[in-house]
Symmetry: C2
Subunit: 330 residues, 2 copies
């Protein structure tokens, strides 16, 4: 692939993740960032969008629909893009909440007649379960959908699948993540999703919190969120890949919302028994300097590239990050 | 896949690696070990071969061709198997030396008209280069060949490809392996391959060493082989996968031929620059208790399963462990 045949890529959702995705895409030779959408509008330019302009417009005016000349206001941005603009694949950088959101958006794609590749960075098991129900519809629609393609699930789930190969039986996959962000306001949706995992909270309650309520809550914990036994789709993805039953997969972590320094090194440990009876553990550890955005969006586009190769071979349907090798995007 | 539709798998070569492969395959539900071959003969049983019997026959009599009732003497074992026996895929557990061996065997497969999946655990860059020359022939023959599917290249190369996803640019992939084996005689071919990497040696010279000469050489080093800047196919595989230029990949290691304890924990470090300008390193480390046999043969069969899925979709040709996600074999 060269610049002339660069893949046309769209990003749906323009919060912290969508903006980071734009920054990551811009220098790529093999992909051109042609489309973006938020709740109130979208931008499209087949020669490539300008991230600085879109990000500043979003911050100043609340929607990329205000961009001149490539912005359009719409309360049906996704539908407009699907019906009128040429895009090879989309990264769904949408909030995970409500939990049915990704599946609802997927139904829009299926209904539109659009054919191409979708990649998400979903977190919850139940959200993947909803997508599994759409597997046949996606295949029939000519859509190749790769789910769980962020950091965890995603990067670490794929590493766990690789690690599992040494074992005759996998006993435990233990994912421990550390996230440090300078301020929670840059990732409002993500932090609410994290809070939803805490005892005494659920998705509805977390989503209903005002910014002031989140801030008050974080003040009580010194900005630290400690998460255990989280509902994370790594479990169902590893089960679907045949690595182990989902109850052998645990995910926990510590989020510091007041410092970009990670409170612990994000890692996945895969413990199993080898054919010759040894119990051992392989460990994959992420470098502390890598941000959540790099570890989520990088893999997402690697899977998008792999998905486009599948799509060109006529392979449609639903796949997870544990089944497909992501491709490095230059 | 259930026991009734288990994949029929063959193992070519019956040295240390081939024997370990037999042990790994035997308890699998999704695969049946139906065929094996050494230089002097082969064994075939579509209900599954008995590893104890084949291994003891090989040690006592020098060839599995002596096995009764499933053994056959032949100086063209591979050809006989290809022409007369139903096998879905083969693991080529053959010596890497001479360096043209794997490509020569591959030409036999192509010429035979057999269609199926081949997996190797090749080590050297130049051996992969020879296979690359056969890419079109493999595709036309209806063969799906996955190369470099052992531990390194293989498991660690795949992990490096996953790790690379966090980075905008990969600066260095550094593979350091530790191998401990109780006695070198169990892996005569492998140890000669390692010696060939040492200063003052080459493939021809190492292959020409008698067992007594190898023993004398190892006596001088207390059984330790320290290897640096090895010619390892991880480099070309990561280059082909677009991760980085091959000169950014280095492979070295320490082999202790007198103790199963590893002299260092085998690991791969992937250093790169993220989109937001951070330099960092992801690390994937294998548990010390896992043997070379587990880390080579486990992945090989994981890739064989993935290869059979590709083959069933009509996808033929040459692929590497850095392009395809291995599938866990139950």
């Amino acid at each position: 692939m060269n610049i002339n045949s660069a893949l046309k890529v769209g990003v749906l959702g323009f919060g912290g993740l969508g903006q980071a995705a734009a920054r990551i895409l811009t220098p790529k030779q093999e992909m051109t960032w042609v489309a973006a959408a938020d709740l109130k509008g979208y931008s499209y330019c087949e020669r490539g969008l300008d991230p600085d302009k879109l990000i500043s417009t979003y911050h100043e005016k609340g929607s990329i629909g205000y961009c001149d000349p490539y912005g359009t206001f719409s309360n049906k941005s996704i539908q407009d893009l699907l019906e009128t603009k040429a895009v090879d694949g989309y990264f769904l950088a949408l909030p995970n909440l409500p939990n049915t959101f990704m599946a609802d958006v997927t139904k829009q794609f299926v209904a539109s007649g659009w054919r191409g590749v979708l990649v998400d960075a979903l977190k919850r098991t139940s959200a993947v379960e909803q997508l599994l129900n759409l597997k046949d519809e996606l295949a029939q629609a000519g859509i190749t959908y790769l789910t769980g393609c962020g950091a965890t699930p995603g990067l670490l789930t794929a590493a766990a699948t690789i690690a599992a190969q040494s074992y005759a039986e996998v006993h435990h996959v233990r994912i421990s993540f550390g996230v440090g962000i300078a301020n929670w306001e840059a990732y409002r949706a993500t932090i609410r999703e994290d809070i939803a995992h805490l005892p005494g909270f659920d998705v509805e309650k977390a989503k209903g919190m005002s910014d002031a309520e989140v801030k008050t809550f974080l003040d009580k914990t010194n900005g630290i969120l400690t998460l255990e036994n989280m509902e994370h789709a790594d479990d169902i993805m590893l089960e679907l890949a045949g690595v182990c039953a989902r109850d052998r997969v645990t995910v926990g972590g510590v989020v510091n919302t007041r410092s970009p320094k990670k409170p612990l090194s994000t890692n996945v440990q895969v413990t199993g028994r080898t054919f010759d009876g040894k119990i051992s553990t392989h460990t994959f550890t992420l470098g502390d300097e890598t941000s959540m955005a790099a570890n989520v969006c990088g893999p997402a586009f690697g899977y998008l590239k792999a998905g486009i190769e599948l799509h060109r071979r006529g392979i449609y349907g639903l796949f997870t990050a544990a089944e497909i090798m992501p491709k490095f995007v230059k």
